[in-house]
Symmetry: C2
Subunit: 302 residues, 2 copies
């Protein structure tokens, strides 16, 4: 099961932080925009460099599908190639596509993104819960069959996330806590040797109090924690997403790693310096988050 591989990578690299692969064309360094390649193939070159720069530091990468769909079918082809290159470097791939639909349609999405003989073959997929638990079951089933995993959106990092996730359902339960209970309960049917389940939750770094409550409901689920850095969540804020074994959360940063060169006055425009900035940013993030975990638990967690 891929959750066991994830825990192994986190322990081996002593790092629960991952890097998003969000190719925003206007922010990519000019050195990747030679003009000899299509935009999509330029993105492939850039992402390959990013993956090489962080492969021995982070346990996983998180390509964001929206930024590939911008380039149409070519972008989706590059997305598939990036998943494959990340795998060849031993990285786990979290496919952040926030898919969902009902019945056969949900099954089609699950196959496309998670099946080992499907076109993408990601390890984890983010899934939106709006249509209800029956709409998520095909993703659970596919993940179980393929040894893969999913992250259900439970509490996202944006200001408007409370509008629906903090509503109260017919049983008097808060939606995000009810979702957490469901994640925990279906997760209990697919727990790996590591003690964590294949069904995780997206929990934003920007709401640490809620994260603590959700952690207590989903004891053996991994949290995918976006919003680190650029969206306002800091290292201290993410501690509440972890268990005291230093596991149970993947802290993700995209802009703070990929586009740090834009805030680096001495950046010389070259590929070697760009990949060095990416690598250093990933190391800084690891050290900041692990430092907070050490402070919180007053022990080395890995």
């Amino acid at each position: 099961m891929v959750v066991d591989g994830l825990v192994e990578e986190i322990r081996r690299k002593k790092n629960p932080c991952i890097v998003g692969i969000d190719p925003e064309w206007s922010k990519l360094p000019d050195c990747y925009k030679s003009g000899a390649l299509s935009r999509a193939d330029s993105v492939l070159e850039w992402a390959t460099d990013v993956i090489e720069a962080v492969a021995d530091i982070v346990p996983a990468v998180k390509p964001q599908m929206a930024f590939f769909e911008v380039f149409g079918a070519e972008g989706v082809r590059v997305h598939q190639q990036i998943v494959s290159r990340a795998h060849s470097k031993g990285l786990i791939v979290v496919d952040d596509s926030k898919r969902n639909d009902i019945g056969n349609t949900a099954r089609a999405y699950a196959y496309a993104h998670l099946a080992k003989d499907g076109p993408i073959n990601a390890d984890f997929l983010t899934v939106s819960p709006f249509l209800g638990t029956d709409s998520m079951q095909p993703f659970i089933d596919t993940a179980a069959r393929e040894g893969k995993g999913i992250f259900v959106l439970v509490k996202t990092s944006n200001p408007g996330s409370a509008e629906i996730s903090e509503a109260t359902n017919a049983q008097g339960e808060n939606i995000s806590r009810w979702l957490a209970g469901w994640v925990n309960s279906v997760g209990n049917t697919c727990v790996g040797e590591c003690g964590y389940s294949s069904v995780g939750a997206v929990v934003g770094a920007t709401f640490p109090d809620e994260a603590r409550q959700l952690r207590s409901i989903m004891k053996n689920s991994f949290f995918l924690v976006p919003g680190y850095g650029a969206q306002g969540g800091g290292a201290a804020d993410v501690v509440s997403c972890f268990n005291d074994d230093g596991l149970g959360a993947l802290v993700s940063s995209s802009r703070g790693v990929l586009y740090r060169h834009l805030e680096t006055p001495e950046y010389d425009g070259s590929r070697p310096m760009y990949t060095d900035i990416v690598r250093q940013s990933a190391i800084e993030m690891r050290d900041a988050v692990c430092g907070e975990l050490y402070t919180a638990y007053t022990k080395m967690v890995y």
Copy 2:
């Protein structure tokens, strides 16, 4: 604005029913599986035939992205080609991809699916609301700029849809009715000459009482009504989604049109007979829904 074009097509064809383009490989007639083409290109041939068969009957088609992603980048390329072929036949295209994310990521999805200079260039896109109204704003903005439209998931047709859509928010409002109010209010900023807005709602055919309530909240929004036929919603059930001008709803069927040949014992396996069954099924659906509209309003609505 595309909503004006939609109303024009509905009036010209006297039909508010549309056909989903859901290529489930196992259900496609064998005559499209020659082996000389890739599966994705076989799907293109099939979809081109379906579009030709219904182009003078229906105002719009609704390709379901999940069934294209199954074929990877090639499938997404075929999806783009199908949008373009539908446009060349004068059809409106509803891109049923149920996308959403936050900030720049939502903007990327909106560009990819709706922008006139983007890869897909659909007319309408379905959008999931779970992340909150701030996550939907980039889709509204892009739709407004491009003259396109969106359909927000408000009340879907599946059994589990009530779990979240019938929860109660902090202001004591039911989520689906609160969403309806939001759709109505943002929709009022982008009303076409036809009197309908570019911001519509997905409302399942399986809950006619709820549909009636939602209709009274979203007076000038179009409803996209899935679940006709195969999912249990019949012609009488969809009447409550319409206004008494016979407008305001698009009733969608996929399996009931595309895969009727599987329930037709005399089907001879040929392409001409397949496309004839598709065409006849689309006509039957039109006549059933328009018949119910006539019964309800005791007048010709178009």
